[in-house]
Amino acid sequence: MSTEPFLVLSALLFTIGAFGVLIRRNAIVVFMCVELMLNAANLAFVTFARHHGNLDGQIAAFFVMVVAAAEVVVGLAIIVTIFRTRRSASVDDASLLKY
């Protein structure tokens, strides 16, 4: 089976994630887009593992999942705190620090 379609899909997901970060305002959605990028990388890892016939990529995917889960913990803590303070989850509202 050709691995190419999976790589294309992975690149597509990564691009969607990156653009999502740029265009979405809600901090949670922005964060989800970042997670999408990580999962795009996971797909690439697994695909390449298949391509090379070794397991390194698959193991990498597991590690990334754990790291992403930890990231959710930290990220949600921060986002929820600022949401409670500002009554808004828009990343554009937090722009006191500039110039």
């Binding site: 970060v21 990343v91 500039k98 110039y99």
Partner: protein
């Protein structure tokens, strides 16, 4: 002697004999630098408890260094002419494989003269400052900073390696910054200090690049190593080195195009001006060029550049000196001009190095004399600096007047005074090199005579123009005695050339070559005297024969306007660099109204404008930051792919 051949019979080149290791009295060489440095540390860190005796310690340190210097000088005299280079190794500073830098000191005839000048004239200025700064509550700190200045300058001239020299070089810059801004309550002083520092940094950049280039091409930065390696180096490398060193020299010595800081530097207390102008700081550039003779000798293009810079500055400074009503600024213009002469001489090669140093010494005497004299005048005139408010001071301040007169006669090159001998030699060398350079230098001598006569007349001789509440008086003994000493030196400094001594003394370091003139030497001397006489006469007609108005006349010729505005040096900076910068900034709400920095001059305006605009890119929005990152990532990846897969 070096094995070099194929040079004119008349010339003698510098010897490349390895310096002897320090022993005997020379083992105390480090003390020469350490004494003022330690004294500076004590005075600056000691706090108020040292107030009572701070100035005494501050004077004792350079005097002790001077005494040590004299001891070593006498001892050097007894040695063989080619065995007068002493090296003292202090510690291994940087050792990385093939590249070593010793923190070491080198005492040879060239640095010996500088040590004597710096500590000698420096000591006199220190003593004078006791009186001058008597009323200042921060006198102790002033002495601490003066000591720091002297220590840095001594390190500069004694370092045996370009990198050690560079440490002293930056130290001088820092100390001058502190001293020029000493009266920090004056806004103009703070601005002047900053300007001096920043302009000097431009020169330092040349210096730093030169040292780096040496390291990269020769693998060493010690004088001995570089001079050995320079013989085999390509002309292109040496020319680049020479030009970079010249840039450094221009910064420190206030040569065109980096001259603008010197006039502003007059904001410092007068003893500082004397120290900067006579014994330290501005002489560093001449020292650097002379010390690097092994580079410049092999790089004619760089030498020509030095000559041009020297000649232009000699005339530039002299013209500025003509139009200044501020006595210190007039003298500052003359310093620029005289240092220009020294660079001119040094740029001529072995023919002129010794003359440059000789002129540097005599200039050290008479310029210190003139500045301290001016300080004495200001001291009695309630710190008035405008010569239009002086006049008729000669009978009231006889000692100051007479000593100032000695300095005056020396600087214009009145026969038999010190300046006469040293300037005459430079003129000879200049004429031997090139007629244009010779006549340019001669013209400068005439202008010098004009503006110095003007200063003399406006200050001491013309009718009194000061207000009734000013009571001029002779200065205290502690100020007049230094003046007397310096006046004596200004008058008889020419003895250094007795039997060509100073030239012979320096030959082992800089080589020797006698000028070959088409005409007898006395013709040039006579021409010089004639030109000087003409300058004096013109000044007499223009200044003494008319009344000097108390206010500077507004309707003056375009030349006077130009000269008053420092030949538009700042205006040029402004037009080329600052205006476009201002246009850039105008559309932005960049008004630095917080007193952080009112004056952004030169390039600063442009960069500041760019900065003001660029910082608007930092919008505070996360998403725009993410956009810059994506754009950056895109560029990085595309650049990688494009550069490698095309």
């Amino acid at each position: 002697m070096s094995p070099m051949t194929a040079l004119p019979v008349l010339s003698e080149t510098a010897s490349a004999v390895a310096p002897a290791q320090a022993g005997g009295v020379y083992s105390l060489l480090w003390l020469v630098v350490a004494l003022p440095a330690v004294s500076a540390a004590i005075l600056l860190l000691g706090g108020r408890s040292t107030n009572a005796w701070g100035h005494l310690l501050g004077c004792a340190a350079p005097i002790a260094s001077f005494a040590l210097g004299v001891l070593m000088f006498v001892s050097l005299l007894t040695r063989d002419a080619h065995d007068r280079a002493i090296e003292q190794h202090l510690f291994d500073w940087i050792t990385t494989g093939s590249y070593d830098v010793d923190a070491g000191l080198l005492l040879d005839p060239l640095s010996m003269l500088f040590v004597l000048l710096i500590t000698g004239v420096g000591s006199i200025i220190h003593v004078y400052s006791i009186g001058y700064m008597a009323e200042d509550p921060r006198r102790r700190r002033f002495f601490g900073q003066l000591n720091l200045f002297v220590a840095a300058m001594l390190l500069l001239v004694l370092g045996s390696d370009y990198l050690v020299l560079f440490v002293g070089w930056e130290g001088v810059g820092l100390a001058s910054y502190l001293l020029i801004g000493f009266w920090q309550h004056k806004h103009s002083a703070a601005t002047a200090a900053k300007k001096a520092f920043v302009v000097n940094r431009v020169g330092d950049m040349g210096m730093a690049l030169a040292v780096m280039l040496m390291f990269a091409t020769f693998g060493t930065t010690s004088f001995v190593g570089v001079s050995a390696a320079a013989e085999g180096a390509s002309t292109a490398t040496l020319t680049a080195l020479g030009l970079l060193l010249l840039l450094g020299a221009c910064g420190k010595s206030a040569q065109v195009p980096l001259q603008s800081w010197l006039l502003d530097a007059m904001e410092g207390p007068t003893p500082v001006s004397a120290l900067i102008h006579a014994a330290t700081m501005v002489t560093a550039g001449v020292y650097l060029v002379t010390r690097s003779n092994f580079i410049f000798n092999e790089a004619p293009t760089a030498q020509t550049a030095v000559v041009i810079v020297g000649l232009v500055t000699a005339l530039w400074g002299a013209i500025i000196g003509c139009a200044k009503d501020d006595i210190k600024k007039a003298l500052a213009g003359s310093t620029m001009s005289q240092i220009g002469y020294m660079h001119l001489a040094a740029g001529l090669g072995p023919i002129g190095y010794a003359f440059a140093i000789f002129h540097l010494l005599t200039h050290g005497f008479f310029k210190a004399n003139l500045f301290l004299g001016a300080g004495s005048v200001m001291h009695s005139m309630n710190d008035e600096v405008d010569m239009r408010r002086y006049g008729g001071l000669a009978p009231l301040m006889p000692i100051t007047f007479l000593t100032f007169a000695m300095g005056y006669l020396a600087i214009i090159g009145f026969p038999l005074f010190s300046g006469f001998w040293s300037k005459d030699l430079i003129l000879e060398a200049a004429f031997a090199e090139n007629l244009v350079v010779g006549f340019g230098a001669l013209l400068g001598a005439g202008i010098t005579a004009f503006y110095m006569t003007r200063v003399m007349l406006m200050t001491f001789l013309s009718p009194k123009r000061w207000a009734d509440d000013v009571h001029p008086h002779e200065s205290p003994r502690v100020m007049t005695v230094p003046l007397l000493v310096l006046a004596a030196l200004s008058a008889v400094g020419g003895v250094l050339y007795l039997g060509g001594w100073v030239v012979d003394w320096l030959t082992p370091v800089v080589g020797e070559e006698h000028p070959e003139l088409g005409v007898p030497v006395w013709v040039i001397s006579l021409a010089a005297v004639a030109v000087v006489a003409a300058g004096v006469a013109v000044a007499w007609v223009l200044v003494a024969k008319r009344d000097v108005p108390r206010e500077a006349p507004v309707r003056v010729s375009v030349f006077t306007t130009a000269a008053r505005a420092d030949l538009f040096g700042d205006a040029l900076n402004e037009a080329v660099f600052m205006r476009p910068g201002q246009h850039l900034t105008r559309s932005l709400v960049y008004v630095d109204n917080r007193g952080v920095d009112g004056t952004v001059n030169g390039l600063g305006g442009l960069i500041g404008g760019a900065s003001g605009r660029l910082r608007r890119l930092q919008t505070g929005f996360v998403r725009s930051y993410a956009l810059t990152m994506v754009a950056g990532a895109f560029v990085v990846v595309v650049a990688l792919l494009a550069a490698n897969l095309s």
